[in-house]
Assembly symmetry: D3
Homo-oligomer: 276 residues x 6
Amino acid sequence: MIRSFLAEDIGTGDITAESIFLPDQLGEGCLVTREAMMVVGVNDIAAEVFKLQNQAINICEGVKDGTMVEQGTILLRVDGPVIDLLKAERVALNLLQRLSGIATLTARYVEKVKLYPVRITDTRKTTPGIRMLEKYAVKAGGGYNHRFNLTDGALIKDNHIAACGSIAGAVARVKENIPHTVRIEVEVETLKQVVECLESEVDIIMLDNMDLGTMTEAVAIIDGKALVEASGGINLETVESVAKTGVDIISVGALTHSAPSLDIGMDWTSCHVNEQ
Amino acid sequence: MIRSFLAEDIGTGDITAESIFLPDQLGEGCLVTREAMMVVGVNDIAAEVFKLQNQAINICEGVKDGTMVEQGTILLRVDGPVIDLLKAERVALNLLQRLSGIATLTARYVEKVKLYPVRITDTRKTTPGIRMLEKYAVKAGGGYNHRFNLTDGALIKDNHIAACGSIAGAVARVKENIPHTVRIEVEVETLKQVVECLESEVDIIMLDNMDLGTMTEAVAIIDGKALVEASGGINLETVESVAKTGVDIISVGALTHSAPSLDIGMDWTSCHVNEQ
Amino acid sequence: MIRSFLAEDIGTGDITAESIFLPDQLGEGCLVTREAMMVVGVNDIAAEVFKLQNQAINICEGVKDGTMVEQGTILLRVDGPVIDLLKAERVALNLLQRLSGIATLTARYVEKVKLYPVRITDTRKTTPGIRMLEKYAVKAGGGYNHRFNLTDGALIKDNHIAACGSIAGAVARVKENIPHTVRIEVEVETLKQVVECLESEVDIIMLDNMDLGTMTEAVAIIDGKALVEASGGINLETVESVAKTGVDIISVGALTHSAPSLDIGMDWTSCHVNEQ
Amino acid sequence: MIRSFLAEDIGTGDITAESIFLPDQLGEGCLVTREAMMVVGVNDIAAEVFKLQNQAINICEGVKDGTMVEQGTILLRVDGPVIDLLKAERVALNLLQRLSGIATLTARYVEKVKLYPVRITDTRKTTPGIRMLEKYAVKAGGGYNHRFNLTDGALIKDNHIAACGSIAGAVARVKENIPHTVRIEVEVETLKQVVECLESEVDIIMLDNMDLGTMTEAVAIIDGKALVEASGGINLETVESVAKTGVDIISVGALTHSAPSLDIGMDWTSCHVNEQ
Amino acid sequence: MIRSFLAEDIGTGDITAESIFLPDQLGEGCLVTREAMMVVGVNDIAAEVFKLQNQAINICEGVKDGTMVEQGTILLRVDGPVIDLLKAERVALNLLQRLSGIATLTARYVEKVKLYPVRITDTRKTTPGIRMLEKYAVKAGGGYNHRFNLTDGALIKDNHIAACGSIAGAVARVKENIPHTVRIEVEVETLKQVVECLESEVDIIMLDNMDLGTMTEAVAIIDGKALVEASGGINLETVESVAKTGVDIISVGALTHSAPSLDIGMDWTSCHVNEQ
Amino acid sequence: MIRSFLAEDIGTGDITAESIFLPDQLGEGCLVTREAMMVVGVNDIAAEVFKLQNQAINICEGVKDGTMVEQGTILLRVDGPVIDLLKAERVALNLLQRLSGIATLTARYVEKVKLYPVRITDTRKTTPGIRMLEKYAVKAGGGYNHRFNLTDGALIKDNHIAACGSIAGAVARVKENIPHTVRIEVEVETLKQVVECLESEVDIIMLDNMDLGTMTEAVAIIDGKALVEASGGINLETVESVAKTGVDIISVGALTHSAPSLDIGMDWTSCHVNEQ
């Protein structure tokens, strides 16, 4: 995957760098934060970008995933052929900036609910192509992952229910067909549906866009007989009050679809002169 | 590319939908905006996702790229096998939401400078893997593209200059090596460097993180002998004053790296009952 | 995937057929069983092989998956360019024969336990590269699927337990890290371990290579508080007695790793003469 | 190819192992036979699976291909990061078990005809996707390979002959079109066809489903002027009597399409405890 | 393969055409020869390039492979979206020009030896990546193919012989290991080696860089007991005298490695005006 | 890319070498020129072919790109497993021979115009699949590259102009749509068009198939206000007189589409005997 990112950014060559440097000229640089953040992806992702560009690039172990750092922190030190450092730089930064943005936002949500026994989870609203990286960033930020794809979790929604005529009907069909290793979750909007879910012995009940009062009632009705997930438009202002209702899981699409990139740059400590 | 996005989201199958629906059951739905936005990607990208999931899905031509729409606007109507509509839904939405977010943000920048003869352009700070789509969204929003990759534009930065000892030295090397079809741009921080650029007859001078006063001076010195690009930390508050300095191009990384996704959903108008 | 199978079998061309037939000569043939069997893969897989070789091949809808047929049954009728029929023939047959072998063997296991409320499931002991097809054949034969891969089910085995010091320790770590949408299964060998599993509230307990007496005891102890899976060396002779112990699931590796291919051939009803 | 097998089995991660072990924890294990067999694929294939999963896994040279071993034999010792050993284990075993099954079955056929100057060969009835591995196993078992694909051998069958009106016509066309480096084989069912083949100076005559008497006659008629291959439904009971007829080659589809997997497991000698 | 050729030529878009034409504007053009030539690749290759660029391009069946045409001949007429015609044009022409160059050169060799019962064949000295196309062009030009790759023909050369100590030793090893469907060819430089080949009953003897006298002697010694191939530096001046020696096959590397491209262009008959 | 070239040449294995040598037997050889030439691709391309075939092959640094060498020059010395040397040999040679042919031809053109301040450039008339390698060879031969693909240079041709009604119209559209980092070139056939180009302030004017007199006039009219490129049927006989007209760039399609391969072979200095 990273190889294709490099190809996307490099095209058929870096015409600037290749004009100026010889292939064997060396350079050294550091990835440095330009603002405070929780970083993720330094050793496993950014370093990998440099390594895949050229095995000969040396990398000093950098800041661990999930570390909160100040502006001006050196995240990673790399040295090797200048041309390859320049070719890898932008892709490494683009990934680090985005993933650290996700981890930092996740950490803010987690901080808000730290007094409650609740998980903050991501959703499938991720950037196409880099879901695994984004879900990794959510975990680094203290969050949890929801299902990775349509195979590793059954989630029955309103149109599934409508097609079967009832929650009971939909759950029965799904139970009969899926591996026994996967849980069944049902998305509901009313307390009546909550009761139907309990009658069908589903594993997880997702309360979709419920107000806080109804949510609290739902939690009471469910009473530990299923996991309870709150979902739908929850933000940093509302997340704590949702946690107070006693739900087990709060899923937040914004973690991955709207976290802004954070500012990280590359400072060159050495970039050897080209004596042709 | 879209095939790999579908594979990422679907895994080895949609265990929920495949339990409930038969392969030949049909459904119909619409992609609908949940907030006002400039949309992009409806006919070329979202429709393509559905088509690639199953050629048998019918698609009514939807809203054109670059259209400003209200909340509640139907963007696209699709009908076909329910299972495939469900498998394609999330990927189509994830792309549309992100790209429309970029176009909408770009349009806001463009609006701010509409009285000035200046281009708002993107940068290489895009999401790895979907740069072409994101740059397409910038154009739909009224912006322009900067170079696509390291091959189709020469951009000489501080470390290139340092390596060669002078702007003149760096420009000479680059001129000697690159195809004559590509322009040479130099990133400068001082007026002294601006003068050196003019002496080296570069095509484009990028004023990096300059204050407005210096920028104005630079534009006067350059006096049409090269294109002038302003870059570095320019935002919606400052973009108009930058435009006033008379630069030709303003490049804004935030267009692609920090535009939030906008809210679009799928409404099911029909989802046939499964009479097994 | 099927494209790569065709490439594997065809190499750089069918030197025999291409010497004898012209590209536009037509032929017609039928896939016919040479022994009784439960067939699977006719319409979705074998037909797809012909279609991918050449879109111009016509295919008459064939026998449905999971149908029990006699020797001499016509499964599928195809007509089109002879060269392409010949190029697709072997791959289509190789897949059909293997998958029908799996479905037929599965159906024999299912028949043995038809009086008991128990699932026969496959395992991960599949042929590398075609797991999805093999698991599909198991379902067609009346069986169920176990997890598809290491992501969509947590299965704690002896070495995991040893590493953590206890079942409780292992379960705690896994619960803390996996998505809430996936169940936790633990593989045990003793009744003491069964009790530990119940204390840790695992979702599924796998009784590995237990004798029938112990298995019966285990089922009694578990008493519906977890799903019970029997595993390890169960064959057509023993499967019914295992079912009698009251377990919920019986997983059988042999379904996919040792089902012999069944005999299916292609009969040519027409193969036009080449008037060059 | 092996990378895709690993991807198939691992999905997006081993959620169990990754919950329990840290990436740098080490383990050690052995692949051990659970029954007697001729092994194949230890050093070139199973070891490669571990290496491709993680270059850091150490591998002690194991049992050579084509060795007959007892139950309980250690085939290969591996040590390295536990998570990666666990991720590679199943794919390595699935391949070893299947290929050793093929080699062992081949060796039984070879043993049956050891007194005769005859080759036991495979056919194109292999598992789609892993033909090269399966043909390699046949050679390890003492057998020989038939053509690998439709390009590296010309085999004229009944429908080719019918299309051309005669064996002579078909052979002439094929001779005129194929590279001179490849032999021409013709499949026949009658002695009359055998004579026609000799008149057309074909290189190899395949006697398809002939009874032993006719086969003996055919061998006498051919009298060394072409290679003779016997084919069609030959099994362990009949192979010796076929060899007695004096044919040069006996091809057996069952070698690859119906050899059962043999039992091989992984014993963990060390699996370091996770002190988080 | 053709898709990758298009990607290579198009990059991320045709910035010229996409600036000028709308996606739905239509055009029409013809591929026309600018000199006399034997054409190859019109209907199967050039047409395919246009089709793969856009299914909506219409193609009128063009000149058949192996046709000798004059300058100014229309080879193929295409119409459809202008942008896609322009994107496909260069790749289609590059392939046609190169392949027609090969066919035309081959035809000249074939013409030179038309009175002799000898095959002109290609070698493995082809352009990496397009061997199949180049070998196809050789056949269209009246030549024959040598082996396609290292698998579909055994060719024993001097270093193989040296490694085994003798031709007999090398042949024995190869016979024992390769499929019986493939012929054995040995490359020799002396008459003594020719005799050794006959003693080892090889199928084909390649006379490498022999003078005409020795070659004639070799043919006499072989006397039909093996096919005879002449190879090494044979050109249009010498090919007829080589044919006169009585060899069966003359292989010529220059057919594929040094045939110049011939001149073919695209004439636009209609290119609709863009009324934006 | 090189991996696919190896796969193309090797097929499923080298049946000759694998019959004769064991995998661990070693050999040593040299790539040697059989005629004088300017070599290119020794260290970056040929060496890479051997390395990708087997990492264990040792390579002594060879002759630098762009060196003029005599017949009989050792270009590269390689040693390692014989089987892998043999598998890599043909692909390495095929690439070296073709690229050195291009560099040598380019050098001849460059030599012809060495007294003039003019660039010899390639075109897009390259071999599909290996454009980057061929353009690299042109640079090694002292030439320059034209645009790599349709994205990194805007070239307005006659049909673009016709579609827009005028050069001015076409240039305006292109300027409005392409990145500011890329130059605009216009292909013209008359002096009137030259003037129109100057009025539209294009960056480069391509004089297509102009006679020398008109070309000289055009250069005078342009007078440094744009770069001037001569194109169309220029050959070794005419290139100097074209250079004399004062153009800045001469593009020559023949550099890549018609350079003959030069003769390079592999001499085996050691090829260990196989003591089985």
